[in-house]
């Protein structure tokens, strides 16, 4: 992209990404520039954290740059199913004690969910050693996943290098029909782009976003990485403020929106009222079809949970369909609330009771079976429908199995019939 700005003259119209980077660097920023930027929040999980801290130790720094803004989450293997992973947990706990950073131990939940409940603020630069760190974009943060060494550098120096991404504007217009969720929106977006159509770029969502509740925004931002995007960012508006205040975070709100004439490399429109329940079919997210056209797919397991769809509203939607009904014979329904808060709220609302009565196994808050570590590894030739974000070959622990992805509503309807089912066949 051509940089039309003259040195020292601020271009008037900015994208959200430019605005955030300019706030942090106090200088003009345009796509393609390589810049060094301070970070507001750094986090690791138990799969990437041990390597991050070993790399940090190699840097020979005495302390973390910002221990209070550094967090460790034990969520991928929680509780640990193997001694090797237990030893990784021992190491991470010792690093937290030694260096004084935050520790969210087994049972607290998935890193990204806790991060958005308590840590991520609009306009923050957030880096996490997990590709779905981009979830924080739903709150108007520049939140992106990196590898362990990049995170070690960010922990040690309190900053890192970034190539300022070009932004693609995604205008979401109209209103979602009943039974349509953020998951159906983002699967449609990823299907449009393919697995790398937005590589190295930022997705900036806009349009009729007052019609998109925060939990749907979180699902959309969570999966921005599935089309290669560095971040999937929503404006920070009244809905964002309401969410933060609901979590007793009265000081954290900051407004963020792009300027009207901001420069985008591409502009796309998705009409929300035309989106139908969508399902990603093996073995990629972008290979997606309408749920109603996949009726013949027989299921062995349904997973409701993850950083994509393990929030209270997700469990509530599923419970509406499952209330008074039973999971089909031969189908295992595994439910994993994304955080302790979600779990407690779902208990209070009676959601957990409905799910257990329908036949669900409810596990401790965390990543559950999403990444093939524990809590529901598939058998040979078995088929799963999951509300998580990836269905790559071997993802859920067995290369001889098949994973489909859908919304919580589609997952709940399918758990009842034992086949992939359009949720509109059920009343809610």
């Amino acid at each position: 992209m051509v940089n039309r700005k003259r040195k020292g003259v601020r271009a008037l119209a900015k994208t959200m990404v430019q605005k955030i980077f300019e706030m942090k660097t106090e200088s003009d920023v345009s796509p393609g520039m390589m810049i060094i930027v301070p970070v507001d929040l750094v986090y690791v999980q138990d799969g990437t954290g041990p390597l991050s801290f070993r790399q940090f130790e190699k840097l020979e720094k005495d302390c973390l740059a910002f221990p209070e803004n550094t967090a460790i989450f034990l969520d991928h293997a929680a509780p640990s199913p193997r001694k090797e992973l237990s030893n990784d947990h021992v190491y991470l706990r010792s690093m937290s004690s030694k260096l004084g950073c935050k520790l969210y131990d087994v049972g607290q939940g998935v890193c990204h969910q806790i991060a958005i409940e308590s840590l991520v603020r609009p306009c923050d630069i957030v880096v996490g050693a997990d590709s779905h760190t981009c979830t924080g974009g739903a709150l108007g943060a520049f939140a992106t996943g990196m590898g362990s060494t990049d995170i070690a550098v960010s922990m040690g120096l309190g900053k890192n290098w970034f190539r300022v991404p070009e932004s693609i504007f995604i205008k979401l217009t109209g209103k979602m029909a009943p039974y349509i969720t953020g998951k159906d929106i983002i699967i449609s977006v990823v299907k449009h782009f393919g697995s790398n159509g937005a590589s190295y770029q930022a997705l900036e969502f806009g349009g009729d976003i007052e019609n998109i509740p925060i939990y749907d925004r979180l699902t959309v931002s969570n999966m921005a990485i599935e089309c290669g995007a560095k971040v999937g960012i929503f404006p920070s508006d009244e809905i964002t403020r309401e969410f933060l205040e609901k979590n007793n975070r009265f000081e954290d709100f900051k407004e963020l929106k792009p300027d009207l004439d901001a420069e985008y490399v591409d502009r796309l429109e998705f009409k929300l009222d035309e989106i139908e329940p969508m399902v990603s079919v093996p073995h990629y997210v972008h290979t997606a079809r309408k749920a109603k056209n996949l009726k013949d797919i027989k299921l062995n397991q349904v997973f409701l949970g993850s950083c994509t769809n393990g929030r209270l509203e997700d469990l509530r939607m599923a419970a509406k369909i499952l209330k008074g009904k039973s999971v089909a014979k031969g189908v295992r329904l595994i439910v994993v609330p994304a955080s302790k808060k979600v779990y407690l709220d779902a208990l209070k609302e009676g959601i957990i009771e409905i799910l257990v009565n329908s036949g669900a196994s409810v596990m401790a808050p965390g990543c559950g079976p999403c990444v093939g570590v524990h809590e529901g590894i598939l058998g040979d030739n078995e088929v799963a429908l999951a509300t998580s974000n990836r269905n790559f070959h071997g993802r859920m622990g067995n290369p001889d199995s098949y994973i489909y992805l859908s919304s919580p509503l589609t997952a709940a309807a399918s758990a009842i019939t034992g086949y992939i089912t359009d949720p509109r066949e059920f009343e809610i």
Binding site: G47, P50, Q55, N87, S148, T149, G228, R395, P399
Partner: protein
């Protein structure tokens, strides 16, 4: 810097789940053992085949998915001297640079499994041993190449004390 080796060719969209499957999650703190399973669902006996040094050639979007840096690490430990692909997933690309594994973006249509190739990183030229093809690619940004040249960003920071893009 010139790199030579025999090509192992893989397809488009190789994910980090392909490179190091989640079922070996528990071996992430034992990189030697973990590397024995590198790409095992994609190339039979990859770990044996890569011993002694190979160049891994993919199609588009190499390294999609998880941020696990263990993916480029196990490739490097198995003997991969460089990864060549039409395009890379962003996090994999950064991770490879940070651990000092050269990554080259070039059209890989003409490169076949078993070819012997040499890559000149500074000149941006990849050529088959008998010159049956010669492919040009833009060299990496000099600031990024300097991270690779130091053997990764940890060594770079230890040497320079900081990251700085002031040239």
């Amino acid at each position: 810097m010139a790199i030579s080796g025999r090509v192992i060719k893989v397809s488009d969209n190789i994910s980090t789940d392909h490179i190091i499957p989640g079922r070996y999650f528990h071996l992430r703190s034992d990189l030697e053992k973990l590397s024995e399973h590198a790409l095992e669902d994609v190339v039979e006996n990859f770990h044996e085949k890569a011993k002694g040094g190979v160049i891994l050639v993919g199609g588009s979007n190499f390294g999609i998915g998880s941020s696990r840096e263990h993916a480029p690490i196990v490739l490097k430990m198995s003997g991969v001297k460089a990864v060549v692909a039409k395009s890379f997933a962003r996090i994999f690309f950064r991770n490879a640079i940070n651990i000092g594994l050269p990554v080259i973006i070039v059209d890989t249509e003409k490169i076949f499994d078993g070819d012997d190739i040499t890559i000149d990183l500074e000149k941006g030229v990849l050529r088959e041993k008998r010159d049956s093809y010669q492919l040009k690619f833009p060299p990496l940004d000099i600031r990024i190449q300097s991270i690779i040249d130091e053997g990764g960003i940890v060594n770079y920071i230890k040497k320079h004390g900081d990251i700085s893009f002031e040239m």
